[in-house]
């Protein structure tokens, strides 16, 4: 729906959740009523001179603060009129020409308004009197984001210099109740603008232009100093962005606004372990699909046979049919996709490419029959429980009988595709699932969780397998549990049923279920020197986890056929090279 105020710069829901505020380009602040089925315009507040860049509700819902250019307005929600207009000092290290943009405001329950602006200031205002209480100049560049903790005793701001500052409410003296806001620690984990910050009860979370998501735990809030209390830096999304057509050796890469299809090169040469073989045929860039409009691609997939490509944005679903004639390729969009398919979270083709599984953000799972150039909606699994929770991970068994689906928090559900009805639910586990895979022949479902646990569940028997119970009993190696990134893909070797292939961003692992499990004393990561040792030693030290860290950061790894494995690396330097230059800072001594 249109707000009729030009581009919307800011939006915030009321503390009760029943109202929505938006700030528009033309300086208007509009209040919308949120009901269960629609959003309804309620009222306009007094219009301001320039765009509203930031909005914040008072926790009681009676007042709002709106950050504009050069000033902050405080509105009374009942009357809709501005009660105070607090003008922000433009001065930026002596230069007063530039306008001061209020990038963020926060209304605290005691009536204090905290603003962050483009002059590098964090300012505290008294909303009752409309006066400036305290000002902290913290950066030479913009301060772009602010987030307050729930207790309102600390907040975090992010600057364009890549620094995140932590502010805390500290008592002035130990025996008085007077408290003051004090800037405490700066954190420099980013190289570029910090566009967004969040304050969880135990950590500060920041992210920005440099594509990193940084989680900085607050040491004083952490009870036990374990690995959870460590700083984490997340660079890649914890989901698959690449799909592969095994038959035609095609790779489909998903970018924010386009898809790229590549055909892998091949070689006829042979060599020893570690050799790099010359390519007899180079990789081909077959096609590039661009989406229209500003929407990002949510998910995409290519069918194993290589003749179908499906992708989805927030509002539309696309299905393409590819036909190959020798070296040329032709693309044909399948028209008239049904409306319920839009905004899919995950798309999967069955192994024989005859079925398409779409997990919609409404929580339902759609099954579509594909045949030459047309499609037929077969069935929709509706979400079982009352809570609407979208499925975001899908796995289908190679024989096409079983479909496993998992949401963000609920357990894994298994559907029978022959009968088209739910089969069973895997026992609930506290941590979200990061990858699913169903083994051929045995139909064992392998589940990887975000706490690095791996389970194996037999679908026909509806219970965990013996191996899974054994490894849960012994526990995983501590180094395995301390890895930073979750497992994003699980696959199987068709000829070696005891092997499970899985990878995260920094390692590739083959779990050989026939070998003994490692305990905490054994070396988890196979040192290279062991390969030179005699067979006896190798056999004695061998354990179930065979890990390779050769390729990193690893985005995708899949078995193409019995003897070929494809791995996709995405060097960080390439990403950084594409970023705009960071703000130049004078470094002492240079």
């Amino acid at each position: 729906m249109d707000a009729f105020g030009g581009p919307i710069w800011s939006m915030t829901a009321s503390p009760s959740g029943s109202q929505l505020l938006i700030g528009c380009e033309d300086g208007s602040v509009k209040l919308f009523q949120i009901t269960s089925d629609k959003i309804q315009f309620e009222r306009n507040f007094d219009r301001q001179k320039s765009r509203i860049l930031s909005l914040s509700w008072h926790p009681s819902g009676t007042h709002i603060a709106a950050g504009s250019i050069d000033y902050i307005s405080v509105f009374d929600v009942k009357s809709g009129s501005a009660t105070h207009k607090m003008i922000v000092d433009r001065r930026y290290m002596g230069v007063s020409k530039r306008k001061c943009i209020i990038w963020g405001v926060t209304f605290l329950s005691d009536g204090t308004v905290i603003s962050v602006d483009s002059a590098g200031k964090v300012q505290f205002w008294d909303s009752a009197t409309g006066t400036l209480v305290k000002s902290h100049l913290i950066a030479n560049a913009d301060v772009q984001s602010i987030a307050v903790s729930d207790q309102e005793d600390s907040f975090v701001v992010g600057t364009a210099e890549g620094t995140v500052f932590h502010f805390q409410l500290v008592s002035v003296t130990s025996n008085s109740n007077e408290k003051q806001w004090v800037r405490t620690k700066p954190f420099q984990h980013h190289t570029h603008d910090v566009r967004a910050v969040a304050h969880s009860p135990t950590a500060l979370i920041s992210g920005g232009t440099d594509t990193h998501l940084v989680i900085r735990p607050l040491m004083e809030k952490v009870e036990v100093k374990n690995y959870d209390a460590a700083l984490r830096k997340i660079t890649f999304p914890h989901r698959r962005l690449i799909s592969c057509s095994k038959k035609r050796h095609l790779l489909l890469f998903q970018f924010a606004h386009h898809l790229e299809l590549w055909r892998l090169g091949s070689t006829v040469a042979t060599g020893k372990n570690g050799d790099i073989l010359p390519l007899s045929k180079n990789a081909d860039h077959l096609l590039q699909l661009k989406t229209k409009g500003p929407e990002n691609i949510i998910c995409s997939s290519i069918s194993p046979c290589g003749s179908w490509i499906a992708c989805s944005t927030a509002s539309r679903f696309f299905l393409y049919r590819l036909s190959y004639e020798r070296d040329s390729i032709s693309l044909q969009r399948v028209p008239k996709m049904p409306a319920f398919l839009r905004s899919a979270l995950q798309i999967l083709f069955s192994e024989d490419s005859t079925k398409l599984f779409v997990a919609s953000n409404q929580g339902s799972l759609h099954i579509i029959q594909l045949s030459e150039g047309c499609f037929k909606h077969l069935h929709t699994f509706q979400p079982q429980s009352e809570t609407v929770e979208a499925m975001c991970l899908l796995a289908v068994s190679p024989d096409g009988n079983w479909l496993a689906a998992s949401g963000t928090s609920a357990g894994v559900r298994i559907y029978g595709l022959k009968e088209l009805k739910p089969h069973c639910t895997v026992p609930a586990y506290n941590f979200p699932v990061t990858a699913l895979g169903i083994a051929p022949n045995t139909n064992n479902l392998v589940i990887a969780h975000s706490d690095q646990q791996v389970f194996e569940y037999s679908i026909p028997d509806k219970q965990y397998t013996e191996w899974s119970r054994a490894i849960q009993k012994q526990g995983f190696h501590h180094l395995w549990l301390q890895r930073d990134t979750p497992i994003t893909h699980i696959s199987f070797h068709p000829k070696r049923p005891m092997h499970i292939l899985l990878h995260d961003a920094y390692m590739f692992c083959i779990i050989d279920k026939s070998l003994p499990l490692p305990n905490d004393k054994t070396l988890l990561y196979n040192p290279l020197s062991l390969t030179n040792e005699s067979d006896v030693i190798r056999r004695r030290t061998a354990h179930a986890f065979k890990i390779s860290k050769k390729y990193k950061p690893l985005l995708f790894m899949e078995l193409l056929d019995e003897r070929t494995l494809v791995a996709v690396e995405r060097p960080l330097d390439d990403i950084i090279a594409q970023l705009p230059p960071p703000i130049k800072k004078k470094k002492f001594g240079t």
Binding site: G120, H136, L137, I138, Q168, V170, S171, V172, T173, S174, N175, Q180, V182, R183, T184, K185, P186, E220, F588, G589
Partner: protein, 830 residues
């Protein structure tokens, strides 16, 4: 006056003023700083030293105002005593003997009866902070043995301890941790910087600490230049800190302003940084302070700051960061190359000062007169840089000319030499560069001397160098069509068999020049520059060379590296005498024929004073210093002393100063320490009423004369009212600070008595004189005299009820006492 016949080696000024933080008086009028064994009281307005508080027998290590009486000052010393002073009058009030070596002193406003000191008890490196209860007692010497332990294993420097929030807690830092002791809870929290052990080159050792006066906030300085502000430190878990980083090198000291709104920090950058509101972006600078800031202190009134610098300087700074006064002591450079020189014009001691500077230091007033920038280049303080060194300096022609030599040697083969000649300008009262000679020699210049004989019209300078030459430089006319000018040019180059020239020296009349070439001494005629004769003793390289003076001017003395002291007769061209003596310093007295030589042995340095004509020394003093003596100099006295003893006659016209390896400036004194005290107490009387402004000298003296005339006129009249100024009891009453006065009942009788008209009108002028004398004696701190004054008071008490006859009898008594003083020795001769 009878001479006390013992010569002692005494420290004469030049002590470190920057050893501890300076302390301001409550009204910011005075600033107190430690100076060796003394405490110096300076005026912040005029930079003048108002008092020197003598009394400690070892290094003073801490100063604090008495929190219960801001007109009193506590000081502590290595001698194990805490002394309480009245700093306005410079009087020692009380001495508390603690017994341990005291390293630092702290006072708190709310614990008036106890102070905190740092001591080390058992092991040499383990220091404790203890509180010492100061017992209340009227006696002057009090034992204060009651100590209570507060904190252990602390840093000995007082910079590493700070009391906060009106004494609720004390923060101490050492190495990598901060410990905070809460007095109420009696608990210690300890915060360790975790990164210190992990990172290889982490230099976040704590260096200093300061506490916010109003808030619970501790500021700590670190070796890597960071300042951390700690808050919430009463909670071991929720503590938090924030960093301020501007300094690139170690933070030397921190201080909060009185209100706590700003934080001051300083370090090797010589920049005082003021952090306003303790925010990183809001800071002010006072740059170019000249040398490393060692200490920062803030006046209790809040209007002044002061910084102590590594070059023995204290700068008083206004609140708006403007330096208002500089108190400069003797600069102690790392190396003294120039030796001790006396400026003939000002009688100031001249030696290396700041890097590249020559300092003029007044020995009488113990302060630096001025600095002469010789190198005239920006000094960049960096340990790795090889700096230009000022190696030699010499005055010529009664201070009209100054010659300096500077050198910089980066590598063995690359030597940069520069000789500068400075002319004294009467108008500007300073030295102006006249001639600059770059590379006057090919190699190091070993000696430099002017011909100071009066008969020589043309100033002459001789330089000797390792390149085997000595050069004679004369002043010539350098005028051109633009201006009249004079300049120095090389007149003669001499050498002797390519030997290195090591020393040069002119005879007193300037007719002869002696130049030593390693082992050989050559004598040159200064008129014709002809080689007259050579002396060679084959006793090692000549280390020192000098001509005798006055009656001994026919002698030439040389000290060699093989520990031989030779004396040659110039008339006979033969060795007069020689002796084995390891001479380190040899200095001729300009006002006599005496020569002082200091020899070095394993146990210490010994002094020998001799005349060249006699091989037997006039005076020997063993072990004048435990260390090596590097330089010595004779300073002519303004007023000749009259030592009757033959052994000390060499000190009659000149005083001998010497500088040891650790750069303490020492001299000889025959006065007892008590005698040395009197001048200050006299000073006290002199400046009792008015500041001595120029107007005072004009008007005050004029008024005095008028008063005297008036007195004369009045003296003729029959009735004479005693002038209030002349009555000692009244003047004493009016000029003694109220807090040191005895009770009013005590004074009442004296006061009344003093107002009574004595019947003897003729003694009206005598009595004040008498009492003046008494007072003078009274100010001497001997016990005997104290007893006497007490007695006098007792008698006054008795007098109170009785009549004036007693008064008369008192004057009679005085008469009698006078009679007793009269010498009756003549009776014995009868």
């Amino acid at each position: 006056m009878v001479e006390e016949e013992s010569l002692r080696v005494v420290r004469c000024g030049g002590s470190e003023l920057n050893f501890r933080r300076a302390v301001f008086s409550a009204d910011s009028k005075y600033i107190f700083c430690v100076s060796g064994d003394f405490v110096k009281v300076y005026s912040t307005a005029t930079e003048e030293c108002v008092h020197i508080l003598h009394g400690h027998s070892d290094l003073v290590t801490g100063l604090q105002l008495n929190p219960s009486n801001h007109l009193q000052l506590y000081s502590c010393s290595f001698d194990g005593t805490i002394k309480l002073w009245d700093y306005i009058d410079g009087i020692l009030i009380k001495t508390f003997t603690v017994g341990h070596k005291l390293h630092a002193l702290f006072t708190l406003a709310h614990t008036k009866d106890s102070v905190f000191v740092t001591i080390n008890k058992e092991k040499p490196d383990i220091f404790q902070l203890v509180s010492v209860k100061l017992p209340k007692s009227s006696s002057q010497e009090i034992e204060a043995k009651e100590t209570a332990f507060v904190l252990d294993y602390i840093n000995q420097s007082p910079k590493c301890i700070a009391f906060g929030n009106e004494g609720e807690y004390v923060a101490a830092v050492r190495d990598f941790y901060l410990s905070v002791y809460f007095f109420k809870k009696k608990t210690t929290s300890r915060f360790t910087l975790s990164s210190s052990r992990n990172r290889k080159h982490a230099k976040n050792n704590f260096t200093c600490v300061a506490c916010h006066p109003k808030e619970d906030c501790i500021a700590s300085g670190h070796k890597d230049g960071k300042i951390r502000l700690w808050r919430n430190f009463d909670d071991d878990k929720k503590y938090t800190y924030t960093c301020l980083h501007w300094h690139h090198d170690m933070v030397m000291d921190l201080a909060f302003s009185v209100t706590g709104t700003s934080l001051l920090s300083g370090g090797r950058e010589s920049v005082l940084v003021e952090w306003r509101d303790a925010t990183e972006k809001n800071k002010e600078f006072l740059p170019r302070l000249g040398a490393t800031i060692e200490h920062i202190s803030v006046s209790p009134a809040g209007d002044l700051f002061c910084t102590s610098h590594s070059d023995n300087k204290i700068i008083v700074i206004h609140r708006n960061l403007e330096a208002s006064a500089v108190i400069q002591g003797l600069v102690k450079d790392k190396n003294i190359f120039t030796g001790l020189i006396i400026d003939p014009r000002t009688r100031a001691l001249v030696l290396n000062g700041k890097p590249g500077h020559l300092q003029f230091y007044s020995l009488q007033s113990d302060k630096q007169l001025y600095n002469l920038d010789i190198v005239q280049q920006e000094y960049i303080s960096d340990n790795d840089l090889i700096q230009i060194e000022l190696r030699k300096a010499a005055f010529g022609c009664q201070g009209h000319w100054l010659a300096t030599v500077e050198q910089r040697q980066e590598k063995e083969t690359e030597l940069e030499l520069q000789m500068k000649l400075w002319a004294y300008n009467k108008k500007t009262q300073g030295f102006v560069l006249n001639t600059k000679v770059s590379m006057p020699h090919e190699d190091h210049i070993t000696a430099l001397c002017f011909c100071n004989a009066e008969k020589f019209e043309n100033p002459t300078l001789v330089t000797a160098s390792k390149d085997g030459h000595f050069k004679v430089w004369i002043l010539t006319d350098d005028s051109d069509i633009y201006k009249k000018a004079v300049g120095w040019t090389c007149d003669f180059v001499g050498s002797y068999h390519k030997y290195q020239a090591t020393n040069c020296c002119f005879s007193e009349d300037g007719s002869l020049l002696a130049v030593s070439f390693e082992e050989i001494v050559t004598i040159w005629d200064s008129e014709t520059w002809e080689l007259k004769c050579t002396f060679c003793q084959r006793a090692g390289k000549i280390r020192y060379l000098c001509f005798g003076r006055w009656t001994c001017s026919k002698y030439l003395l040389g000290a060699t590296e093989n520990d031989i002291l030779c004396c040659w007769n110039l008339l006979s061209c033969a060795l007069e005498w020689s002796t084995k003596l390891n001479v380190r310093v040899m200095e001729p007295d300009p006002n006599s024929e005496n020569i002082a030589a200091i020899s070095q042995s394993s146990v210490g340095s010994d002094l020998f004073v001799f005349k060249p004509s006699e091989p037997r020394p006039l005076y020997i003093q063993k072990k004048i210093s435990r260390e090596e003596v590097h330089w010595g100099v004779f300073v002519p006295r303004d007023v000749p002393e009259s030592f009757t003893s033959e052994a000390y006659q060499w000190l009659n016209r000149s005083q001998f100063y010497f500088l040891t390896k650790s750069q303490s400036l020492l001299t000889f004194s025959a006065k007892s320490p008590e005698e040395k005290l009197t001048p200050t107490s006299k000073q006290l009387l002199a400046e009792e009423s008015l500041p001595t402004t120029p107007f005072y000298f004009i008007l005050g003296r004029h008024r005095q004369q008028q008063d005297e005339k008036l007195n004369d006129a009045l003296g003729n009249e029959l009735v004479q009212l005693p002038l209030t100024e002349n009555i000692p009891a009244i003047s004493e009453l009016l000029h003694t600070p109220a807090h040191v006065l005895p009770s009013a009942s005590f004074l009442c009788s004296m006061f009344i008595n003093s107002l009574l008209l004595s019947k003897e009108t003729k003694s009206a002028e005598e009595i004040p004189d008498d009492v003046d004398m008494e007072e003078e004696k009274g100010s001497d701190d001997t016990d005997e005299e104290n007893d006497f004054t007490e007695k006098a008071q007792d008698t006054n008490d008795i007098d109170l009820g009785e009549d004036i006859i007693h008064q008369l009898s008192k004057s009679e008594e005085k008469e009698l006492r006078k009679l007793r003083k009269v010498d009756y020795s003549w009776v014995t001769t009868l």
